[in-house]
């Protein structure tokens, strides 16, 4: 017959207590301290923050990576393929990533960075960082938050996502990697994690795009309003929830939020946040090409269906703030509708122009357009807008 088990929590405690008293006196600080410390952590146990406002990877790769559809190696492989295609189109094919680095003997390396796609620039910088880590070691540890649960050991990056990707690139894509697949990290306990610290780190660095800053503002607003910040990848609509919020009801956080945003004024904070009204496509393009807030604020004012086209024109023609303002506000005035006869005066003018089309040569029209706008880029932008109007008018006539 089996003996009856003797479950007794109190007795178990007594047993532990009988050997604990000596140990407690000897316990070193680093064992029971809930302090920040540096550890070397396996790369696979570290993951970027899915809601980090600053995007490192292109949006589509970012989303699939954070939805666990692709591994870090696959994400980088897709990025490399995108860059290889772009580079081939521009006559700079490469097979080895190290070929992206500047070579003093190659005249092509004198090419200005402006002619490279954002992905090419990013990958080139990443390869450069990876080779630096290979040659000099990882001098600057990442900052990670311990978000382990059960047997799943996981550390979420608070700062240092580029170094993380550079280390993966070094491990899987660059020859002569002699590391052990570990990365030094400053580990912050989960209860010490702070969206404000992350924001300060972001805004203190150069190269934070206007769109990333807008996401940052949204994240801070959502946090102070008690929204739960998810631990998975989010679409832009998540950040857009902040468009309905402001700092008025949260005076106790106002200083902390504005300070985390780099010490900006409250009015500027609202403008930055309003950039989230841009359409998804416009947001992605503006983020990839680092379009300034000064230009985007005018784009936000026009109907959402034109956002992507306007941002594309800003990129293609490198429009100045003044040019963007004229383009956006001009378009707005032309769309004002005359309530009396349901046709705006500008539409009447455009219709009359079609009657004079036979008596105009392309050269004359081009000269007139440049004279009117005072700039070739704006003239081109006007033509693009006109082409779009003509094609949509044709479609409208067809439907009638």
């Amino acid at each position: 017959m089996m003996a009856r088990p003797n479950h007794d929590t109190q007795r178990m405690d007594d047993l532990l207590a009988s050997v604990t008293s000596d140990l407690l006196g000897e316990l070193p600080q680093n064992l029971n301290g809930n302090a920040i410390h540096v550890e070397r952590i396996l790369l696979e146990m570290v993951r970027p923050d899915p809601v980090q406002p600053r995007r490192v990877l292109p949006e589509s790769i970012h989303l699939r990576f954070h939805q666990n559809q692709i591994t870090p190696t696959q994400a980088l492989r897709e990025l490399v393929q995108i860059v290889q295609i772009a580079a081939r189109h521009r006559g700079r094919p490469f097979n080895n990533l190290l070929e992206l680095l500047p070579n003093a003997d190659d005249e092509r390396d004198d090419e200005p960075v402006a002619t490279l796609t954002p992905e090419e620039v990013f990958l080139r910088d990443l390869v450069n960082l990876a080779t630096t880590i290979r040659d000099d070691g990882q001098v600057n540890p990442l900052t990670v938050v311990d978000v382990s649960q059960g047997v799943t050991r996981l550390f979420r990056i608070e700062t240092g996502e580029r170094r993380y990707w550079a280390t993966w690139l070094l491990r899987d894509f660059i020859p002569n990697y002699t590391g052990d697949g570990m990365i030094p990290c400053i580990v912050i306990p989960a209860n010490h994690s702070s969206v404000f610290r992350q924001a300060k780190e972001n805004t203190a660095r150069s190269g934070l795009t206007a769109v990333a800053l807008a996401r940052q503002a949204a994240l801070l607003l959502l946090t102070v309003h008690g929204y739960e910040i998810p631990t998975y990848a989010v679409e832009n609509d998540f950040y857009r929830q902040a468009l309905e919020l402001d700092l008025r009801g949260k005076r106790e956080y106002t200083d902390a939020v504005l300070s985390a945003m780099g010490g900006i004024k409250r009015s500027q904070f609202s403008i930055v946040k309003s950039l989230l009204r841009l359409s998804d496509e416009a947001l992605e393009m503006a983020d990839r090409h680092s379009i300034e807030e000064g230009k985007l604020r005018y784009v936000v004012g026009v109907p959402a269906e034109y956002h992507a086209e306007l941002v594309r024109q800003i990129i293609d023609f490198n429009l100045s703030v003044k040019q963007v303002k004229e383009l956006c506000e001009g378009d707005g005035s032309e769309q004002q509708v005359n309530d009396e006869d349901d046709v705006s005066p500008s539409a009447v003018k455009m219709a009359k122009v079609t009657q004079a089309i036979q008596s105009t040569t392309p050269q004359e029209f081009a000269r007139a357009l440049v004279r009117q706008e005072g700039d070739t880029s704006i003239a081109r932008a006007r033509l693009q807008a006109m082409k779009k109007l003509i094609s949509e008018t044709e479609r409208y006539l067809g439907e009638d």
């Binding site: 089996m2 301290g33 050991r153």
Partner: protein
């Protein structure tokens, strides 16, 4: 540096799995009681019989996808990730984790024979996750096979459970010599014999008392003696209930003796292995 304790003896039935599992749980509970930030302990079961896996997780049908076998057969680059995927939580305590054994480990030795770097297929991935644990406990099979060598290579400290019988103690020196061979032959200078646990001690038997006295009087073995675990029927009842000895009967003489061993090992951890 995380200490890894391998429980080894080429004799079967001396209490390797019982000692490994109960000491691992004791460490978790004692570290937690001492408010340690990281009280987690990992058991690596290298014995294809899977006794340690069975009593701590309630199952032993681990196979090609979720066991030590999976880790040993993984591509070297992916081995750490595979290891992380195969570690499972014990039923005893959320902070006691297990890399379970599989009956397929029997074939693993044959499959790995002649594979370059085969003896390092455990230590390489384990070394990359070791700092996530306060300690690692490795349970071995009752023979000096490739898997036992892997366990020894992954360890910093060897602990030898032994029964107080004449032939057992005669074999003890050969066990220690074998561990020393591994240290010298595999150039693993950090491996050392850190303890001896006398198990199944019955003080009513004159021979047991005599041999224990001899061990204590021995200039080397006497210093290594970590504890004496009395023969106790609570041990087998705890096993059959898939419970730890501490949970099944904390007042049993074996529970108290094991807790003293745990205290010594935790003190050793706190002193950084000195």
């Amino acid at each position: 540096m995380t200490r890894s304790f391998v429980f080894t003896n080429h004799k079967g039935g001396v209490g390797k799995s019982t000692s490994a599992t109960n000491i691992a749980l004791g460490m978790v509970q004692l570290l937690r009681r001492a408010n340690a930030t990281n009280p987690r302990v990992l058991i690596i079961d290298t014995d294809s019989q899977g006794h340690a896996s069975l009593i701590t997780t309630g199952r032993k049908n681990y196979g090609a996808d979720d066991s030590l076998y999976t880790v040993l057969m993984a591509d070297r680059t992916n081995a750490p990730q595979t290891l992380l995927n195969c570690i499972t939580q014990s039923q005893w305590d959320p902070d006691l984790h297990i890399l379970p054994a599989s009956p397929m480990l029997e074939g693993a030795e044959r499959e790995l024979t002649g594979v370059a770097g085969a003896p390092y297929r455990l230590v390489d991935p384990v070394s990359k996750i070791a700092n996530q644990y306060a300690a690692i406990i490795i349970d071995t099979r009752p023979s000096f096979s490739l898997l036992t060598e892997m366990g020894l290579l992954a360890a910093t400290d060897a602990i030898v459970p032994v029964e107080p019988r004449y032939l057992e103690t005669v074999g003890l020196t050969s066990v220690i010599e074998k561990i020393n061979d591994i240290r010298e032959g595999w150039r693993h200078p950090t491996l050392r014999v850190s303890g001896l646990i006398v198990t199944k001690m019955d003080s009513r038997i004159r021979g047991h008392n005599h041999l224990l006295a001899e061990v204590k009087a021995h200039p080397v073995l006497g210093k290594l003696l970590l504890g004496v675990i009395p023969a106790n029927e609570a041990v087998s009842y705890a096993h059959s209930n898939h419970q730890s000895l501490f949970t099944y009967n904390p007042t049993a003489s074996a529970s108290k003796a094991y807790m003293q061993v745990v205290a010594s090992l935790v003190r050793y951890l706190l002193k950084g292995g000195e």
